[in-house]
Amino acid sequence: MSLDFEKPIIDLETRLMQMKEIASKKGKNLSKEALLLEEKIINLKKEVFENLTRWQKVQLSRHPKRPYFLDYIYKISTEFIEIHGDRVARDDKAMVGGIAEIDGKSIVLIGQQKGRNTKDRQFRNFGMSNPDGYRKALRIMKIAEKFNKPIVTLIDTPGAYPGLEAEERGQAEAIARNIQEMSMLKVPVICIVIGEGASGGALGIGLGDKVFMMEYTWYSVISPESCSSILWRSWDYKEQAAEALQLTANDLKKMNLIDGIIKEPLGGAHNDVDFAANKLKKVILSEIEKLEKIDPEKRILDRVEKFSLMGVTKND
């Protein structure tokens, strides 16, 4: 369960662990060799992670060990009551939401949930929501608004589910409705991409006063693979597509499409979930504090203005 470019690091880490084991068995201190190896690992990690290609960042966003929505919730909150159902037809397991207590503050958290093993992945539909998921998310947001609680959405989806029933129940309408309703919510809304931010499926819970991305995530109108298959008419150009789409956190910050990047530990969030969760929590709390000082009506108008400034055109 590791990526190609992680392998050399993991090999060295395994060797170091063996050396540590031997040392502890013999009751000896770590050898000079081991200390050198430790340093070598850090340097190698730095070298690899400072020079990641866009496609490698996409791979990291999908890392099988990467923390998902609920992993973060359990790390950052002292209480979490999950609430279910769209009050229309279903309870979409790919979309999770509830009220959490973080540092003594009640915050409504909503996000897509992926599964860790085969069974769980199917149960969560690979983090791909049906319309029911978007309607459930909106219902939970309305509860937050009613009881004046700030909303945080954590985005991690390979896309809204492109299925037959999804179309029957109005996938397009559900996403459109969410985007529109989110723009008018009277409470602070913060959206954070924690993994994959694929197109309308991500944006369906993505309209907020502030939008952040964790360091090794992507957010775009299409996945590199699908882009490759449509524009290059082959699945083989995903690396080029990722470069062309400029879909990483760094890219989007440069384009002013997001407000900030949440730093991940060296090696990615899965290398130190506590570190990642802690950074996430800090951003959530400090941003909510700032947003709560603003008058709700002004917050709404600022939110609409923020998105209406996005885009680049010229006058011929």
Binding site: A172, Q180, V221, C227, D251, F307, M310, G311, T313, N315
Partner: protein, 280 residues
């Protein structure tokens, strides 16, 4: 059988003497009906034999809808500036330049202000002929400005959608046009200014998942493909064939996402009636 034998070996009429019909005189519908272009034009580009609605663009819709075919165009010089310098097998800039040359359009949408049977209206109409009617920054910005115009002048807005979805070559900028148009529409809705969304063939992807589905009245032309995911993607996902009529206007209507389906020949009358009922 002598008479049957060909005396000369080949047909040797020089191609300059060939009498071909002028290009584009006749139109054949998918159902096989053949109709003269002039007749088609006089019939709002609907084939009288099988009611097939031919795909048309902003020029034709404006002619059909606006009184005396007269309107004022807004933001007509706005065009794409290729913010990502996007290159796939071709450059995006090249695609835009070629599309502009081929279609005579600046981008995939035009906004006109005029009257429909004496009722003021702002109409933004998409052009599928321009890179598949895809939504990039220009489409989003023009819709956003059309909404501003509606808000400022308190005039109802109509958007005619005809698009495959967001424009990949503007990546996340395109995606954010969904946010931009939808949140702007929320302001229009707050001011209680009517917004009519007409979906035509096709209306899918980021366009259907934003402004197209957000009308106070969502209406469609008959037989139009309307959905979120494209049929090919759904077919691949579920691994079986799609039912007949899937994602067509009639299907979308039956599932409760359209207010009514309107024949293009009745469109103008129906819209003005609706505007009248809302105004009185």
């Amino acid at each position: 059988m002598n008479w049957f034998k060909r005396k000369k070996k080949n047909i040797n009429t020089p191609s300059t003497q060939k009498k071909e019909l002028p290009d584009g005189m006749w139109y054949k519908t998918p159902g096989g009906s053949i109709i003269h272009i002039r007749e088609l034009k006089n019939n709002s580009y609907v084939c009288p034999e099988d009611d097939y609605h031919v795909r048309i663009g902003s020029k034709e819709y404006f002619e059909i809808l606006f009184d005396n075919k007269s309107f004022e165009e807004l933001d007509k010089d706005l065009s794409s500036s290729d913010p990502l310098k996007f290159v796939d097998t071709k450059s995006y800039k090249g695609r835009v330049d070629k599309s502009q040359k081929d279609t005579g359009l600046k981008d995939a949408i035009k906004t006109g202000v005029g009257k429909i049977n004496n009722y003021d209206i702002v109409i933004s109409c998409m052009d599928f002929s321009f890179i598949g009617g895809s939504m990039g920054s220009v489409v989003g910005e023009k819709i956003s400005r059309a909404i501003d115009y509606s808000l400022k002048n308190k005039i109802p807005l109509m958007i005619i959608s005809k698009s495959g979805g967001a424009r990949m070559m503007e990546s996340t900028y395109s995606l954010m046009q969904m946010a931009k148009t939808s949140s702007k529409l929320a302001l229009l809705s707050r001011e209680k200014i009517p917004y009519i969304s007409l979906m035509t063939d096709p209306t899918t992807g980021g366009v259907s998942a934003s402004f197209a589905m957000l009308g106070d009245f969502n209406i469609a032309e008959p037989g139009a493909l309307i959905g979120f995911a494209g049929p090919r993607v759904i077919k691949e996902t579920i691994g079986s064939n799609l039912p007949k009529g899937f994602q067509r206007s009639e299907f979308v209507f039956e599932h409760g996402f359209l207010d009514f389906i309107v024949d293009r020949r009745d469109l103008k009358t129906k819209i003005s009636k609706l505007l009248k009922l809302l105004k009185n």
